[in-house]
């Protein structure tokens, strides 16, 4: 997919250390990154923390961004890697216990409005992770393999398992 010229220019400026350009990139992409972290982590407070970490990580690595990947897909990869990294550090459980009542309420609204959203949240973490990246974010198995280090066959079987679990729930 071709990158929007404005985004290209903003990325170039951000690579030269321009904070304002990076802020504009943040404003343009945060709704897509936030929903991804909400789904991957299964919680709004967690998603807030992960979204912040994603952009800080992206700022650190912005010079490595090449033209092969669009900025949004590049950010999605960083967001997914950030979620995995934090899962490894077991910091997510601590953050999730800090939920305030309003956030808790918003969280219930988001996940209970759509039965499918609720069903995705109930999947095992890795199955959910693969399904979201492949079916919702349209990332290829090759990219998911780079993020997770799981073999492509393993990813395929996890995707099949999560789809089958969802099919049962959807048919009910």
């Amino acid at each position: 997919m071709q990158e929007n010229k404005l985004i290209k220019a903003l990325v170039l400026n951000a690579q030269l250390g321009n904070n304002s350009a990076f802020e504009q990139l943040y404003q343009m992409t945060v709704p897509q990154i936030y929903i991804l972290t909400v789904r991957l982590s299964g919680g709004l407070t967690l998603a807030g923390t992960l979204t912040k970490k994603t952009y800080v990580n992206a700022w650190q690595k912005i010079s490595q961004k090449d033209e092969k990947t669009t900025f949004l897909n590049w950010l999605k990869i960083i967001a997914a890697s950030t979620v995995l990294e934090e899962m490894g550090r077991n910091t997510l459980e601590k953050i999730s216990s800090e939920n305030d009542p309003q956030t808790k309420e918003n969280e219930e609204v988001f996940f209970n409005q759509q039965p499918l959203e609720k069903a995705i949240r109930a999947l095992e973490f890795v199955d959910r992770f693969v399904l979201i990246l492949h079916d919702l974010e349209n990332l290829s198995f090759e990219i998911i393999n780079k993020i997770t280090s799981l073999s492509i066959n393993d990813l395929r079987s996890k995707l099949m398992r999560s789809r089958e679990n969802l099919m049962i729930i959807v048919e009910e």
Binding site: M1, Q2, V30, Q32, V38, Y55, V56
Partner: protein, 397 residues
């Protein structure tokens, strides 16, 4: 190939990840196996539902200040490299020529200035977080909010003048201004004309009922409403059962009819009209008609002079067999060049995989895509490309 083997690769078949030979073998097995067909049907159904899930969500709070704060304390890879290079260059220059000291000094001053400026920015942002500054800000914002509420609720908007006509005659009676929330109901022998100061002239046909909602919004409950936007300066929104109709560009002429079954029909004679139904925007151009069934869904706009078979195929796909691939193929095979607006709107309704078929048909009819529009862009519904394409389509139909 055995049933179990096929079942294991059905997901890859669905994702079009199989080699052509395996793909054909799988296809042959599916055509004879009810179990595998049912599995594929369920998978398609699931993917249709997944397609409809939102792809963005605005956070309830703005994280930028926190991110910026952290960014200020770290150096990007690029900055680190740049600094290393500058240090090396500076070192070499000192060795080569002592007179360059002045230039280096200047560079240092510039860098320090930059650093001070960044520090000041961080200090300023930190100050913003102190209660005193925050309270002042809240005070100013509250004053703005009160002013906004005053304007919205206490200052009356421009008035709507209502004229009543007898169907058989041309003389009229001026009824005065229509207040906010005011309702107009016409009987079998009367019609009304509403002259709005900025959204054009609205004609209410006999046996109709409307309600003014705001200065630029009206609800049509029953009957027919014609919007003549010739001298309008602002867009008008017409609320009908399950949808909202709005000018895409200010200007034009269109008619909305709500029948006894709450089915709405929009006929555009001039201009561009946008219809929002379930957060999906449909664009209707002049000489096109579009129907909305509150229960079975949103129709696709079609050219008034379209063939009957095409209109039947569109209605079948939209209202009787939504998301059915055979019904979709019937629309595509019966489309002519003059029907490309229907296909343009169809792009937003179909799944990613089906979108290829629509793109292929559209450019089969239109010829090459316009400059700046690519198949990949349309596949992901790139807003700029979609806009460019519809602008190219308009003169063709």
């Amino acid at each position: 190939m055995t049933h179990d083997k096929v079942k294991n690769i059905l997901n890859d078949y669905f994702d079009e990840n199989l080699d052509i030979e395996v793909d054909i073998e799988t296809q042959n097995h599916i055509s004879e196996c009810a179990d595998c067909s049912q599995y594929l049907y369920s998978l398609q159904d699931l993917m249709n539902k997944v397609e409809k899930l939102p792809r963005s969500l605005k956070p309830h709070v703005d994280y930028w200040q926190d991110i910026f704060h952290e960014m200020s304390s770290i150096k990007t890879d690029a900055l680190k490299q740049q600094e290393e290079i500058q240090l090396k260059e500076a070192g070499q220059q000192i060795k080569q020529d002592d007179t360059d000291d002045f230039v280096i000094e200047q560079k240092k001053i510039e860098a320090e200035d930059l650093l001070n400026w960044e520090k000041k920015k961080v200090e300023y942002l930190t100050k913003l977080k102190t209660p005193q500054v925050r309270n002042t800000l809240i005070g100013v914002l509250s004053a703005c909010l009160i002013f906004f509420l005053y304007i919205t609720f206490f200052l009356k908007g421009p008035s709507w003048e209502v004229k009543k006509f007898q169907v058989s005659g041309s003389t009229h009676e001026i009824l005065g201004e229509l207040p906010d929330d005011g309702i107009i109901k016409s009987d079998a022998i009367t019609r009304f004309e509403i002259h709005t100061p900025s959204t054009g002239v609205l004609t209410i046909a006999p046996n109709s009922r409307i309600q003014k909602l705001q200065t630029d919004k009206v609800q049509l409950y029953a009957g027919a409403l014609t919007a003549n936007k010739e001298n309008a300066t602002k867009p008008l929104t017409i609320v009908v059962p399950s949808a909202e109709i709005k000018d895409f560009f200010v200007g034009g002429h269109y008619r909305a009819v709500v029948d006894d079954n709450n089915i709405t029909s929009i006929n555009v004679s001039d201009g561009w009209v946008s219809i929002i139904f379930n957060d999906i925007e449909t664009i209707v151009l002049s000489n096109h008609t579009c129907k909305i069934h509150p229960d079975s869904g949103m129709g696709l706009p079609y050219l008034n002079t379209s063939s009957t078979v095409f209109i039947d195929a569109v209605n079948n796909y939209c209202f009787q067999n939504p998301n059915n691939e055979e019904a979709l193929i019937a629309v595509l095979t019966k489309a002519e060049k003059s029907n490309v607006l229907t296909l343009w709107n169809l792009l937003k309704r179909v799944s990613r995989k089906q979108r290829d078929m629509v793109i292929y048909t559209m450019f089969g009819l239109l010829g090459d895509p316009p400059i700046g529009v690519t198949d990949e862009g349309l596949r992901s519904l790139n807003p700029e490309m979609m806009q460019k394409l519809i602008e190219e389509i308009e003169p063709e139909i």
